[in-house]
Amino acid sequence: MFVPYLLDGWIVATLVALASGFAGFFVVLRRESFAAHALPMAAFPGAAAAVLFGVAQIYGLVAAALLGVGLLLWLKRGQRNDAATALALVALLALGALFLSLSGRYADAVYALLFGQVFAVGPGDIAPAVALGVLVPLAVLAGFRPLLLSALAPELASVRGANCGWVDALFLLLLALAAALALPVTGALLVFSLMTGPAGAACVLLRSPKAALALSVGLALALIWSALALSYATGWPAGFFTGALAAVLYLAARMWRRARRARPSPGWA
């Protein structure tokens, strides 16, 4: 399981889980599930364009994720936020489908980009993964207080002088970078599970924000490692285990809390 050619996959997956655990905590707290689902879709056409033009995937991913943030911020200014998000999401997916179709590698690339191919990760992916895998957690920690305040009490945050618009943009940016990093590992569709499953479970279980953040990261690491090990053992896709384990994790946390009803609910989860 830890043979050299798979080692790169394990390292990148670990970094992905780190970034997703940190970013996912605020996804759950800020109730931005839909944005978290949409941003990896924004990275998808970037990866597809990289296939079409033959450049390194990570550049396409990051560039497209940044474009996605811009699009999302622009659409969010209007009313009916969630309808606009839904449309941005499908428009980007369709664009990716077009790129893949034109590249002539439609059939095999669609599956890899949507559902991930962690064991196809190579040594060249390590450097950008390390950069993003360190940058995202650091940025979350640096912006922890304004992010938390604007998530829990937006009015209070603006009174205290935090610029909510900038905090929003920063948050989406972090989300986009985490998504771009995670896409080759879990695929565009299941990045989202890695972000929301562990973080959702952590927020259900713990009241203190810092403890919940730590638990969220820990669970994300446990999740991706189990998914990889199970995938290796069965030969089934890692994406399946990611999605299924994330759901199991969240349900188990909910049932645990229900079983211990005496404890008051944290209110923000």
Binding site: A83, V90, A94, A97, S101, F192
Partner: protein
Amino acid sequence: MFEGFWTSQVVWNALLIGGAAAVLSGCIGVFTVLRGQSFAGHALADVSSAGGALSLLLGINPMLGFFGLGLLGALGLSGRRQGDGDLAAGILLGAGLGLTALLLHFAISLRNSTGAAAVVMFGSLFSAPPGAGALALGSALAGVVLLGVIHRPLLLSSLDAGLAAVRGVNIRLVAGVFLVLLALAVTLSAMAVGAILSTALLIGPAAAALRLTRRPGLACALAAGLGVFCAWGGVALAYASYGFTPGRVWPVSFFIVALVFCTYAAASLRRA
């Protein structure tokens, strides 16, 4: 560019499925947007993709697979309590997509159908089975009739649940029937543009129509019309795209979704 367009059996089938999906999705979409359930609709579509994959694996009619899993997803969504936010829908969506990944993996490796992922997720209107057009048209009609039956209590409970309860509307029943209709709309759209793009036909024309008018009935008609325009325009453009890049047809789904997006953008300019 358009030689043989009107005489092609494949094109007619595509026009039928696309039109049927657009009409039902447009009408249902208006209520979905009004109820703020865009994400639920999208989650349902993602879960139903597992049904598409299953039907490829078993070799049954894809509509059956999409609808079956769509119903299961609707059941899962209706079980959640108010105030859960989007998180429960999101987790459900992730589990559904994970299952899709597994089933597609089996479909690709066991049945040797390399294009399985592209077909289920992004659709292939031009390679739909020949009888699918009539079936889609029938289910769309049934869906529109059912929506007509429940439209008054549905509208009331969408806009003001408290008032609806006072007026004696069974809110849970109405919400349940609506989720079944949503599953049907998602199924037809998934046949037309693929499971993960079906949200385009569901939300796009409806959101555009609601920008243009505030009257729900008119919005339904407008959304259906805009949806049909996008679907048929997409089919025509894809047919014509054979001439853009010699020998290769661009994906129909891309054109349909692009037209939907342009329609929505144009409609939102109107009342900026």
